[in-house]
Symmetry: C2
Amino acid sequence: MGVPVSSANSLAVEDLGSAAQRDRRKRILDATIALASQGGFDAVQMRSVAEKADVALGTLYRYFPSKIHLLVSALQREFERTESTLRERPIDGDTTADRVINVLKRTTRGMQSDPQLTEALTRAFMFADASVAAEIHQVGMLLTSMLTRVMYPEGDHRLTEEDVAIARVIGDVWLSALVGWVTGRSSAAETGQQIEVAVKLLLRD
Amino acid sequence: MGVPVSSANSLAVEDLGSAAQRDRRKRILDATIALASQGGFDAVQMRSVAEKADVALGTLYRYFPSKIHLLVSALQREFERTESTLRERPIDGDTTADRVINVLKRTTRGMQSDPQLTEALTRAFMFADASVAAEIHQVGMLLTSMLTRVMYPEGDHRLTEEDVAIARVIGDVWLSALVGWVTGRSSAAETGQQIEVAVKLLLRD
DNA sequence: AACTGAAGTGGAACGTGTTCCTATTTTAGA
DNA sequence: TCTAAAATAGGAACACGTTCCACTTCAGTT
């Protein structure tokens, strides 16, 4: 058992020994983002990704066992970036609710500025089946922890179960709102509204 | 332009003139449910559905323009059944929260008793893109109205915007929980728990 | 009863995700 | 340095969603 959890799934960065391999992985994800950004989910075709990343199709599948794994991994990388950006700058807003709303709206605006990319990543996330559970779980944790940190920026706050539950519910609403926006059911404004209402319902302190 | 809205989408029951057509539509949805129930999303193959429904592939596509439309329409029919069953029997529970929790848990249990079918329908619903917006919207409305009715069983209650917002949030959480269960990220017990916590947070009266 | 357009049949064909195979290159260890 | 194993390249082949086409059947009109 030298190989960890990810053996059955995407090759995580930690699993990759050589610099060349890390570079290949990066090239693949870059190509994925570029194609998604330009043409959305349908434009991310495995042959195109392979070609753009200058990698054989078989190699692509060795790194990411399916299109969904690939896209969810891309989402994960993007999300980690967002999260670390967020970690740096202070969060403005007096109340807990305000801070959460600010952060979510800012993040949502960011995603809406690249609709095709958001469509691709969101749909992959939602379509993922059990085989992608590990990656999905990662993203879910990241989202929840991002939210709890925004709720309680002081590092010393001890999270109750209720805090975590609230963060989870907010995350759920955010995802639903995003799906609604991606599928053209709701406008950007409505999406923001939807999140704001939910947060205010949940965080009335 | 004799054909209404649904021209670009699935043929709704109302659009179908002859009894033979209504019957074909029914056969197709029955076949879909049967296949989904047996093998989930992947087992619902358009050729199999056509064969099982005793209909040509082209005809299947005339009735439902894509696999996703087909599955979402099946979901809609199932959901309407659930809803009308629910409408008959009285809802037990003293508080609003209790009633909502009871109904959601009962419904969830029902879905969990046929995991493959639930997987197929849920994934189709989540994967749907803009072209299925009409059908998805229908289902969303049905869910929200089902929830508000459970919240206020007396017909005379006047719904506030907040009531509707709460119903929507609960619906979002329910969907997320379902997706989590379908993808093996959470157990049936956790799913119930998740819903219960959210409802209690939102309906503390 | 014959005519006409819509609906249905049967099946070929195409695109893209996925798998698989062989030859070549790279890497690690002796 | 040499060699075996692992990784990659290149690409054929397969599966299933989707499209398309030629033909037949059906329903309504004259």
